[in-house]
């Protein structure tokens, strides 16, 4: 494999829009582990995650036209596509197996959030320890399950304001961790 060029996000975006193969190589080599990690953490099945990664890349490749750099960074945009794709997959699977959203959520609530959330790794374990249960729960439900703020408030049976303050606290802890 050729040594890939180092791209800035802006240049990468321009090259990707032009559908350059080199840009794809760079994109895949640098972003696929993060995207796969996101998919796997939500889907929790290796084979399904492999399929999902292919689908997500095709989706990303064909949607650069709709990417607005003013609204999100490329990385965030792609992670959100992966997240939403994985969540959609889970939900449609839930429908197929006659498990409605409510059941799916009950299933999620029963599981230990820490185990649900994170696969392995010492860094992740440290991160979990820094979040309290409420914060783990809100990250789980918003990040890994893709609930809207209203859905989260209903699910956790807390006011919208509490959803907001909890997510703020949780993300602040993540921010401090990654500082």
């Amino acid at each position: 494999m050729e040594q890939p060029v180092k791209y800035t996000e802006e240049l990468l975006y321009t090259e990707l829009k032009a559908k350059s193969k080199k840009a794809f190589e760079y994109l895949y080599d640098n972003y696929s582990p993060a995207l796969y990690g996101v998919l796997f953490n939500i889907i929790k099945n290796e084979e399904a995650s492999n399929d999902a990664l292919q689908e997500v890349f095709v989706k990303i490749w064909n949607s650069f036209e709709s990417y607005d750099p003013a609204r999100a960074r490329l990385y965030t945009w792609m992670i959100n596509i992966a997240r939403n794709h994985a969540i959609d997959k889970l939900r449609s699977k839930a429908v197929k197996t006659d498990r409605n959203l409510k059941n799916d959520k009950e299933y999620a609530a029963q599981a230990n959030p820490a185990v649900m959330l994170f696969t392995d790794g010492i860094g992740l374990q440290k991160l979990i320890d820094e979040l309290d249960n409420e914060q783990r729960e809100i990250i789980e439900i918003l990040y890994f399950k893709g609930y809207t703020q209203t859905e989260a408030a209903e699910e956790l049976n807390i006011p919208l304001g509490t959803v907001k303050s909890r997510v703020r606290l949780a993300v602040n802890k993540l921010r401090k961790h990654f500082l």
């Binding site: 696929s32 890349f57 965030t76 959100n80 918003l142």
Partner: protein, 271 residues
């Protein structure tokens, strides 16, 4: 809502997570464009979420890369592949269904339309430019015309003054300062045949805005009003007078008086 409150609220975290209702998200889209504080905060939240995603990163199956690449269309492929094999774009399909002579016709019309559009725009901008230049030139021309007019008036004045001063039939009477203003001086140019009179009052003291100098002639031992001096000009045409033996200037209220205020007599000169 205050910016600080918005940042503290948790809405920006929900924005990055995509958990906000569409309308609220669009508001933040717009706000971050104009408010750097909000935008910076969003970027920091994004950084955290990116690191969070990176923390979960796992290398996918090595075979996936080629599998994915096989499903994508690259610019490089499109260039090297023969035209027939390239995935036809919807526009191409439309065009190929049309007979070729129509195709040229359509292409020509499109070209013509584009050319017309471009040239219209080009000439319109030219027209706008020219129009603006014309307006600028017109206003410049107005300024210059006014200057010329003003210069003409000044020249006429000087010519008139020179004609008065150099006319041998005009007598120059020097009016000298009186004790009230010893330095003051004025000159009356007077034609004793026609009675025409002019004043040069360049050397009179400054006066208040509610005061005015007034010229008098002494005829048969009595003061005769020759009019007030123009406050804005040092040279002026005064009223005709005949049989004058002396001229004097007094300081009077604005507009002058029918009889001179003798104690305010500034200059006096005998013919």
């Amino acid at each position: 809502m205050e910016i600080k409150d918005l940042i503290e609220s948790g809405s920006l975290e929900l924005y990055v997570l995509g958990a906000l209702p569409e309308n609220e998200a669009r508001q933040i889209d717009n706000l971050r464009l104009v408010n750097t504080e909000v935008n910076d905060e969003i970027m920091r939240i994004e950084d955290a979420m990116i690191s969070f995603a990176a923390q979960q990163a796992q290398k996918p199956d090595a075979a996936l890369k080629n599998k994915i690449a096989a499903q994508l269309t690259f610019a490089e492929d499109e260039q090297t592949q023969p035209q027939q094999k390239a995935t036809p774009a919807p526009e191409t399909i439309m065009v190929t269904m049309v007979p070729s002579f129509y195709r040229y016709g359509i292409a020509a019309s499109i070209l013509l339309a584009v050319a017309l559009g471009v040239s219209t725009f080009y000439y319109y901008s030219k027209y706008t430019d020219a129009n603006q230049s014309l307006l600028a030139m017109r206003s410049e021309q107005n300024v210059m015309a006014n200057q010329v007019k003003y210069q003409q008036q000044e020249t006429d004045k000087v010519k008139n003054q020179l004609a008065v001063v150099s006319n041998p039939t005009n007598k120059a009477v020097v009016l000298k300062g009186l004790p009230i203003a010893p330095q003051a001086q004025a000159v009356v140019y007077w034609n004793n045949e026609t009675g025409q009179a002019y004043i040069n009052a360049a050397n009179l003291p400054q006066i208040a805005s509610n005061q005015q100098y007034q010229l008098w002639a002494i005829v048969d031992g009595k003061p005769v009003d020759m009019g007030v001096l123009d406050k804005d000009s040092t040279f002026g045409v005064m009223k005709d007078v005949k049989g004058a033996v002396a001229f004097a200037i007094t300081l009077e209220p604005l507009g002058g008086r029918p009889t001179p205020t003798l104690e305010k007599m500034y200059v006096l000169g005998n013919v």
